[in-house]
């Protein structure tokens, strides 16, 4: 007994797409040999597929790659953050052969900058934290200014045998030590 056309047409598309189980596929094939109606249906599905493919392919054939890629490339470049671009630049620039001269060059540059202090004092590259004594004054009370940093200054009063000095010198010491 021949299977109903409605049942076959339900599976016709999947059969054409090669997606039916072999057992069902055989039933469809058998039916098509005997049924011109379903054979016509098969032709219509094939026509839809081929016409759609040809229409779209004809459209796509007119699209050259260069302008298409230009659009994609513009989006990629626009979106990339500066960090990514810097990393990319380093990746492309610092290839092994270039690194061979770049590393010694950087070391030389650093040494040069650090030695500038010798020729141009006050640049600040060679500053240390050593303390310095800046002044020692007289008038009976000697004072030393100990500068340990730019913000810390210690005043040191230096007394030398104060009692003996008073006995031998009748005049009192000046109240305003000069700095």
């Amino acid at each position: 007994m021949m299977e109903s056309c409605a049942n076959i047409q339900e599976h016709l598309g999947a059969w054409l797409d090669g997606e039916l189980a072999p057992v069902v596929g055989e039933r469809v094939e058998l039916h098509l040999k005997q049924c011109p109606l379903c054979l016509g249906e098969k032709g219509r599905i094939e026509r839809i597929n081929s016409t759609l493919k040809n229409t779209l392919a004809a459209e796509a054939a007119n699209i050259p790659f260069a302008p298409f890629w230009a659009g994609v490339h513009a989006r990629i470049v626009e979106e990339r953050s500066w960090q990514v671009r810097v990393v990319d630049w380093f990746r492309l620039t610092l290839t092994p052969p270039r690194l061979a001269w770049a590393i010694p060059a950087v070391i030389l540059l650093l040494l040069g900058v650090l030695s500038l202090e010798r020729f141009v004092p006050g640049l600040g590259f060679g500053q240390t934290n050593l303390a310095s004594v800046e002044s020692i004054d007289g008038h009976g009370m000697n004072v030393a200014l100990l500068r340990e940093s730019q913000t810390k200054t210690t005043i040191i009063w230096l007394f030398e045998d104060h009692e003996a000095e008073t006995e031998s010198t009748p005049e009192p010491a000046s109240a305003d030590p000069a700095f």
Binding site: E19, I48, K53, T55, E59, F68, W69, I76
Partner: protein, 184 residues
């Protein structure tokens, strides 16, 4: 996935734009065709296809090779096209072009001019008929027609089961046959 292609993908994952250009050159027409099939508008299709490639490059580090590269790329492109189409429908800015004219403009008749003219006319009507389908139905019929993709691959691309692909295809073909009637 073939070795050369996987090699290109790996290079892209390391940020090699040249390798991505090679992959783009290989697939841009096919992606454009698929997107055009859904959107039925050349400029929009161009824009969406370019956006798809851009997004593919952006997220290629996440591609692990579980499926073929083009399936993965199609998935991005079709999702974008379907979203675009839905947005366009919501905004009421439905756009179509006269592809009959566009196809005629390509000139050059083949060996059977009568058949070619008939095919072109049918192509135009078919495109108009497809435009009446939902984006989901358009996607499956376009992917099947232009790529001959398996239901499994189509399911991966549009994010549904093989059974759903089968039923969507059946429905879409029925609708197209109804609309085109005796033209087929």
């Amino acid at each position: 996935m073939e070795l050369a292609e996987w090699d290109l993908v790996r290079k892209c994952q390391n940020g090699d734009l040249g390798a991505f250009e090679e992959l783009s050159a290989k697939y841009y027409r096919r992606v454009f065709m698929a997107v055009l099939g859904v959107l039925n508008h050349r400029d929009d299709a161009m824009d969406v296809a370019q956006e798809a490639f851009y997004r593919a490059f952006k997220s290629i580090k996440r591609f692990e090779g579980g499926s073929s590269f083009y399936t993965w790329l199609y998935r991005i492109a079709m999702n974008l096209a379907i979203d675009f189409q839905r947005r366009r429908k919501r905004n009421g800015t439905e756009l179509t072009e006269n592809f009959d004219d566009a196809m005629f403009a390509q000139g050059e008749m083949g060996s059977d001019p009568y058949r070619e003219v008939r095919d072109r006319e049918l192509g135009g009507r078919l495109r108009a008929a497809i435009d009446g389908l939902t984006p989901d139905h358009k996607a499956v019929i376009v992917l099947r027609a232009i790529e001959g993709l398996s239901y499994k691959d189509i399911g991966r691309i549009v994010g549904c089961s093989e059974g759903t692909v089968m039923s969507r295809l059946h429905y879409a073909r029925k609708k197209l046959q109804e609309k085109l009637g005796s033209d087929l």
